[in-house]
């Protein structure tokens, strides 16, 4: 392998660079939360947590946890100056009403038309959806972060058509993986950034639907901001 896949931190750093100054952003549970650790100097964005918090800050110091102040993953957090608390109907009015600029989520599958599957896997466990369907229906932009471009068993995550239960139709705008940044366009997957040393043919083999290279496609490099 003559290329180096991005780490989760590298992907988070790359995502953070695309968040415009002043944006209201919802970060999904898990990997998307890493984006909060990579602020871009000179820019401010406000984190929304759907349980009823704007201006979410980092985790508290050990011993400072407050069970009344948690995020959507039920983890203790803090609130920053300028933050606010509100009830669930207001919180999802922010989401459904188009007031959240960017929703960043994980996924099992993303289709070339922007369909998303990220809430249910086959099995005996009871289903659980949380706010994912509201976020993808309501946020102005929906970005997906994938820690790996393909699943551990080699199955494609970027597919022609999702075969897992859908979270939303034609809702994903962009995908950030350990290998590439891919826009979802009316013409399907368009690669705007790709790790240095990876060929388009290699990336195509790891992608379950046709990909095109954008004009001016940029190299991604591990362990650096660029």
């Amino acid at each position: 392998m003559n290329y180096q896949p991005l780490s989760a931190e590298d992907i988070a750093r790359r995502v953070a660079r695309d968040i415009p100054n002043g944006a209201y952003v919802n970060l999904g549970i898990g990997m998307p939360m890493l984006v909060a650790d990579h602020p871009v100097p000179g820019r401010e964005f406000v984190l929304h947590s759907e349980n009823g918090l704007l201006g979410m800050g980092p985790a508290p110091a050990a011993g400072e946890e407050d069970q009344d102040l948690v995020n959507a993953g039920k983890q203790p957090v803090t609130i920053l100056p300028g933050g606010s608390y509100f009830h669930h109907a207001d919180s999802f009015a922010m989401i459904r009403g188009g007031h959240i600029d960017v929703s960043i989520l994980g996924a099992y599958q993303v289709a070339a038309n922007g369909d998303l599957a990220n809430w249910a896997l086959p099995g005996p466990k009871p289903p659980a959806v949380g706010g994912a369907m509201d976020l993808v229906a309501g946020a102005r932009q929906v970005w997906v972060m994938l820690s790996t471009h393909v699943a551990k068993d080699g199955a494609h995550k970027l597919v022609a058509r999702c075969d897992l239960p859908l979270t939303g139709l034609a809702c994903v705008d962009r995908v950030y993986s350990d290998l590439a940044v891919i826009d979802i366009t009316p013409h399907g997957f368009v690669v705007t950034d790709m790790v240095a040393g990876l060929s388009l043919e290699e990336l195509q083999a790891k992608t379950g639907a046709p990909i095109q290279l954008a004009d001016g496609c940029r190299p991604l490099r591990a362990n650096r901001a660029a």
């Binding site: 947590s49 759907e50 349980n51 009823g52 918090l53 407050d66 069970q67 009344d68 102040l69 948690v70 039920k74 609130i79 608390y85 509100f86 009830h87 669930h88 109907a89 919180s91 999802f92 989401i95 459904r96 249910a120 005996p124 466990k125 009871p126 289903p127 659980a128 959806v129 949380g130 706010g131 994912a132 369907m133 509201d134 229906a137 309501g138 239960p165 859908l166 979270t167 939303g168 139709l169």
Partner: protein, 223 residues
């Protein structure tokens, strides 16, 4: 004189005809934040059966909603996220086919409850369109976008947790423990509140739930 305060947990559930077998019950909280645990324990001890419980989660460990489930009081759960690290009681009942589950997107759940309290029987939302959770539901197109019709939720009883209250039932909430509590207070025939601290008056500009939505309250102290 209006005074919705009662002296004990036993008093708050006394002579309350809406607390009955088969009742639909809204229970506030998100994870462990803002869950009315003392009210839930009190209701559990009434030995009710066949309850429908509407709450974001399905409890964890063996306390709160999990204890209510374990005691066999609940035949149906309506929630957005029944599965969590400690949701062993719910998962066991679900696996054994002993409890019915209606899964609802979190924002749709909140709005169905809000609508119930606001006298709106149903509404349209884009959330869930084209997914398994919209199966069998009426849909309609507005200005080129597809929406799903969702029905309001109204309940017999709401159990909620608040921070401060005055004798009129005006409530404030602690931080993100607010979550579902204010909208659930609006959507039940009887709303019972456990309150950390009674005060003479809640300053009017700080009231989150106006007293009109509250039936009875009990003081439970700081957590």
């Amino acid at each position: 004189m209006i005074d919705k305060r009662v002296g004990s947990l036993a008093d708050i559930v006394a002579d309350c005809p809406d607390l009955r077998d088969g009742a639909t019950m809204l229970i506030g909280g998100f994870g462990d934040a803002g869950v009315p645990e003392k009210l839930i324990d009190t209701v559990r001890d009434l030995g009710l059966r066949d309850l429908t419980v509407v709450s974001n989660n399905a409890g964890s460990g063996d306390y709160g909603i999990a204890a209510l489930l374990k005691a066999g009081c609940v035949s149906r759960m309506v929630c957005s996220f029944p599965r969590s690290a400690g949701s062993v009681v719910f998962e066991a009942l679900y696996a054994a086919g002993k409890i019915e589950l209606e899964i609802v997107p979190q924002g749709t759940l909140a709005e169905r409850i809000r609508a119930g309290g606001a006298g709106i029987p149903a509404f349209y939302t884009a959330t869930g369109y084209g997914t398994p959770l919209a199966a069998g539901k009426e849909t309609r197109e507005f200005e080129g976008r597809h929406y799903v019709m969702e029905r309001a939720i109204r309940a017999d009883v709401a159990l909620i947790h608040a921070r401060t209250a005055d004798r009129w039932g005006n409530l404030t909430y602690p931080k993100t423990a607010r979550n579902f509590n204010p909208i659930m207070a609006m959507a039940a025939a009887t709303t019972l509140a456990e309150v950390r601290r009674f005060v003479d008056t809640v300053p009017p500009e700080e009231v989150v739930t106006p007293g009109i939505f509250v039936t009875r309250m009990v003081e439970v102290g700081e957590r």
